[in-house]
């Protein structure tokens, strides 16, 4: 039930691809991978959620933290490829408009 994480650096953008359910038992792992990305010279930090069909409030909380880290570090923070299940959770949280959300990882990486 744990998540798999993959990091992809291309130019001054970095993508964190998440695979699996993001819940209370796995969101810390995502947080630990995400936090350091804002300390480096990445202009754009993308979280690719195409492999995530379930996210709970602890996952959303981590992404909200990402938003705060990006404000502090002046890096862009983008979400890509939300599955319908994940999108629904963002909508119930009324947070879909707070994030920069892209249909695909490629679109999120476009300058």
């Amino acid at each position: 039930m744990s998540i798999d994480l993959k990091l992809d650096k291309a130019g001054d953008a970095v993508t964190l691809s998440v695979n699996g359910d993001i819940d209370m038992s796995s969101s810390t792992k995502m947080r630990d991978a995400l936090a350091p990305l804002f300390h480096t010279d990445n202009k754009v930090v993308v979280v690719d959620l195409s492999g995530v069909s379930y996210i709970d409030s602890s996952g959303i909380a981590t992404l909200v933290e990402g938003l705060q880290w990006s404000h502090n570090s002046k890096n862009k923070f983008r979400l890509a490829a939300l599955t319908p299940g994940v999108k629904d959770v963002f909508e119930i949280a009324r947070l879909l408009t707070v994030f920069e959300v892209f249909e695909t990882k490629e679109l999120a990486l476009a300058p």
Binding site: M1, D21, M24, Y54, D56, S57, I60, V64, D88, A93
Partner: protein, 145 residues
């Protein structure tokens, strides 16, 4: 179905996936539409996460008992813990205007469920009852037709 399905797990976040699987399976077999099932699963997950965090304060080896009943159009889930009882007025979502991490779990539960009640009227712990009117396979087919 008058005999409910009951699942008891230790208060360890690693078992949240198990409880979601059981519920998914149960809702599937009752022909509950996918998007409704997803939301019900979210509520149960959030309620159990809150029990772990707040009632058991992170202790991983206490019991959480979930009872699922589908009767007619009603899906009822009860979450029983034996941890710290709290002032029920404390259980409330954060103001959504204020974008910050945390405080979303109870918002999801209140938003999705039709009826939510916490009962601490017992020697130990809390019984949370959540009810949702659902359209089962049968009902939604009739609606489409």
């Amino acid at each position: 179905m008058s005999q409910p399905i009951k699942l008891s797990i230790p208060s360890d976040p690693k078992y949240l996936g198990l409880i979601r699987k059981v519920l998914q399976e149960l809702l599937d077999s009752s022909d509950v539409p996918d998007d409704t099932a997803r939301r019900l699963i979210l509520c149960v997950d959030e309620a159990c996460a809150n029990v772990i965090k707040h009632s058991y304060e992170g202790s991983c080896d206490e019991p959480i008992e979930a009872t699922f009943t589908i009767a007619g159009d009603d899906f009822k889930v009860q979450i029983r813990d034996y941890g710290k009882q709290c002032d029920l007025s404390q259980i409330k979502p954060r103001d959504l205007e204020d974008i910050k991490p945390g405080g979303l779990g109870t918002h999801f539960i209140n938003e999705i469920m039709d009826d939510v009640s916490y009962c601490t009227n017992r020697t130990k712990g809390t019984l949370l009852t959540m009810i949702k009117k659902i359209k089962t396979g049968l009902t939604s087919t009739q609606n489409k037709g």
